[in-house]
Amino acid sequence: MITQLYCENYTFFLFLIGVLGIFLNQKSIIIIIMSLEIMFLSVSFNFIFFSIYLDNIIGQLFALAILTVAASESSIGLAILVVYYRIRNTITIELMTLTKG
């Protein structure tokens, strides 16, 4: 039986997968952008599950807002990535050390 706790666990583990995807990443920046999208998705799920549990509509409105904003943010991120790639011709992370720290 799908309880509220089960939904909460699921979304939290999805968020954790996104966070680990950013930190355990050694390959490329596209993986980071995908992990960010997974995090946004998990939070949207969280809002919708809570909205069903609380019988409140604000959660679903928030999830709709997150969807819009995440879409625009990923488009901006990919545009910046394209501009970066034009200069550097690579998107691996080891070479992002022009500004140290």
Binding site: V43, Y53, I58, G59, A65, V69, I76
Partner: protein
């Protein structure tokens, strides 16, 4: 109209005006920039001039709008004196900032007029941040501002530094937004509310023993706090700020350094002192730890820097540490000192960036922006008035009386001592002594340096000179009569 009243549109008069003119400027820029009959002119300087004029009318609109003290748009936005005052300060500061960076794009040959339009949208977003009264409007406004900043940070497309800075800023900013969202979702799930006013009422009688889910509510508030501290570059979440400040072109760095902190700190004040005022006593330790770490990282980081923009970034981190120390007292005297500090910091950073932008060294056949701290040696022989103005700004940042920086730090320390946070006060005093060293080291480099070489600087431009003299006069006047700012901050706190 059942759910929208005409008050909703009246209180947003300035924002609607600014958005409308941003769109009109965009259409104007596109039409002019691509018209072959006019020879596809470069409209960047033109739109920059329009930007300043639009802001003048925007300031006039906000100052004289007799808006009532209400919440609008179904309690998504609030209009009290805090949002009114912050709105006016943001608009005035952005007008002065736009005059400062007016000719940067022309000199550096970045011929994109969209810079001004995105800056206008970012300013509107900052006004929405200071007005927001619900987590929904807060998140949308923060994302609006952040996206505008991601674009601005990577604006100089032919520079490796700029694009890398934009990419780093994007990744870390989006990560902090995701953390903010997780915090808001958990808070919403366990209270059912997203409005700041409703949250303040639900936390009123809350006590630890009765409520089972108090731990998760505390965790969600910690997440929201962490995300907002990310945005104001407090340690230990400061990693992006020196890199982004250094990589971005200097006009964008001045935008980052001067404007968004005021809006975000008024938002943090609203969340901590209005909606979470009962429950934040359990989480005092997070603010204290972040304040101490920010001051430590900022002070010792700035000691080791050799480049101007990273130096400014680290000194910003230490100033943010003071502001968090003011907030960590959880009393209104502390909040007063923090808001006072951020207003003085905005003024001094406007002066600092107008100085930094006028350091253009000759590198034949054009000039380049000064990059290293030690390159300003013997500035007194080139331009003694300019170096004395730099001294005044540095004294204010270091906290030397009679400049307002001293009073800002003094108010923070007094409120810390009043709340028995004596350890934090001692750490603050020791670290500001150390930070005084690296400000005065700059004065030594200007006046008493032993090297015989000197770089050739191009003369300071008229707009920067006007803004610089205006801000330094304001600093001196405020240092002599603190009432001017402290009355304003008291009204912001209590009205």
């Amino acid at each position: 109209m059942l759910f929208i009243s005409s008050y909703d549109f009246y209180v947003l008069l300035t924002e609607i005006y600014l958005l409308f003119t941003a769109c009109a400027l965009l259409i104007y820029g596109v039409l002019l920039n691509t018209s072959k009959s006019r020879g596809t002119p470069i409209v960047d300087h033109n739109i920059g001039g329009f930007f300043s004029l639009i802001l003048i009318i925007g300031i006039w609109l906000t100052l004289y709008s007799n808006a009532p003290y209400i919440t609008s748009w179904n309690s998504l936005l609030v209009h009290d004196f805090l949002s009114f005052g912050t709105k006016n300060v943001i608009l005035t500061t952005s007008l002065l900032w736009s005059l400062t960076i007016f000719s940067y794009n022309k000199i550096e040959k970045i011929n994109f007029y969209e810079y001004w339009i995105i800056s206008m949208l970012a300013i509107v977003a900052m006004i929405f941040i200071s007005c927001s009264y619900d987590f929904l409007s807060m998140y949308l406004a923060i994302e609006f501002q952040s996206i505008a900043f991601y674009i601005l940070a990577s604006f100089k497309r032919t520079s490796e530094f700029s694009t890398e800075a934009g990419l780093k800023y994007f990744i870390l900013g989006a990560f902090s937004s995701a953390l903010l969202l997780l915090g808001i979702s958990l808070l919403y799930g366990f209270t059912g509310l997203t409005n700041f006013g409703d949250l303040s009422k639900i936390f009123l009688g809350i006590s630890i023993e009765n409520c089972i889910s108090i731990k998760i509510i505390l965790f969600s508030i910690i997440l929201i706090e962490v995300a907002l501290l990310f945005k104001i570059s407090a340690a230990p979440f400061h990693m992006w700020s020196p890199d982004v400040y250094e990589g971005a072109p200097t006009n964008v760095t001045s935008f980052f350094g001067i404007l968004p902190k005021l809006a975000l700190i008024s938002l943090i004040f609203r969340i901590l002192f209005l909606s979470c005022s009962e429950i934040i006593t359990q989480l005092n330790f997070t603010l204290i730890i972040c304040a101490v770490l920010s001051m430590l990282v900022g002070t010792f980081g700035a000691l080791a820097q050799t480049k101007w923009k990273r130096f400014i970034a680290y000194s910003t981190i230490s100033h943010v540490g003071f502001i968090l120390a003011g907030f960590s007292t959880l009393e209104f005297s502390g909040a007063f000192s923090a808001l006072f500090y951020i207003l003085i910091y905005t003024l001094t950073s406007l002066a600092t960036f107008s100085i930094l932008l006028s350091f253009r060294c000759l590198s034949y056949p054009s000039t380049h922006q000064l990059r290293y701290l030690a390159d300003i040696n013997n500035l007194v022989k080139i331009n003694p008035m300019f170096s004395s103005s730099l001294i005044l700004v540095l004294f204010s940042m270091a906290g030397i009386p009679p400049f307002p920086g001293f009073f800002a730090k003094a108010f923070v320390l007094l409120s810390l001592l009043q709340e028995q946070l004596i350890g934090l006060a001692i750490i603050a005093i020791l670290l500001s002594c150390i930070s005084c060293f690296y400000y005065i080291r700059l004065i030594q480099v200007i006046y008493f340096s032993h090297t015989k070489t000197v770089l050739i600087f191009s003369p300071i431009e008229k707009e920067k000179a006007i803004i610089l003299s205006l801000t330094i006069m304001l600093l001196l006047i405020i240092g002599l009569k603190i009432n001017l700012i402290s009355n304003f901050v008291y009204c912001m706190l209590f009205l």
